[in-house]
Amino acid sequence: MNQSRRTFLKSTLAMGTVTVAIGAGLLSPSRVMAAQWPKTAFIASSMEAALNSLEGMNKTETSSAIKVDAPDIAENGAVVSVGIETSMTGAESITVLVPNNATPLAARYMLGKNTDGFINLRVKMRKTSDVVAVVKSNGKLYSAKKSVKVTLGGCGG
């Protein structure tokens, strides 16, 4: 009788340890993430603030070398297909922003040396807005935009 009680206690203890370990594991990633993932930029409520926090500047030059391919009218704001292509040489990063979203910064792509300035993705849009692509090249920011009319918002707000 005692024997089974021992076993029961042991297994309960073991389970307790596992739970604690999971708890600790759940906490650590957010701390690790904060170091690399630019949280301030992603929670910024304006495009300028997001760019400032990401690149330390918010002045962008409109460029015809960037092409933003998005639909004129998006029926479903939850899935708006966006393609960005740039013929610029030395493009280091492509940043995708939706100014009318609560947090405009959608995604940022850091390009490797051999990678073309070409990205496709799908974004959520709360309401009708521009989709802005910002390309960083030789220490300067260049941008292009495309207006997308959204008939059904996609951010659940």
């Binding site: 650590s28 690399q36 992603f42 490797g112 990678t115 974004v123 959520k124």
Partner: protein, 105 residues
């Protein structure tokens, strides 16, 4: 957590490699409410995606909640040949991760 493993396709498009991938992930914004309980569903999204060609990083993505559910991505890079490996790793804000690879066709 991903319900289904992600899909990657990579092929040579002329002298460049073209990669398309789809990751199965809910990408919750943290703004949506659960219809039954009325409580907000906590945000759950992929924050970073690392794409490699062999051992070289070709693309690092930082994503926010505005990227759609089951994110699709595609990109292109030079200096690859048929048979090379393309690998994609992602982590989300809750510490889940997945990695997968594909051969360039």
């Amino acid at each position: 957590m991903a319900q289904k493993p992600m899909k990657i396709r990579a092929w040579m498009d002329g002298d460049r490699a073209m990669v398309k991938a789809i990751i199965f992930h809910p990408m919750e914004t943290g703004l949506r409410k659960d219809k039954k309980t009325g409580k907000k569903i906590p945000e759950h999204f992929i924050s970073e995606v690392f794409c490699k060609h062999g051992a070289t990083t070709v693309l690092n993505c930082q994503w926010g909640t505005a990227v759609s559910k089951n994110p699709f991505m595609s990109f292109r890079f030079n200096g690859a040949k048929v048979g090379d490996t393309v690998s994609i790793n992602w982590v989300d804000n809750q510490g889940n991760k997945e990695s997968a690879q594909a051969q360039i066709k």
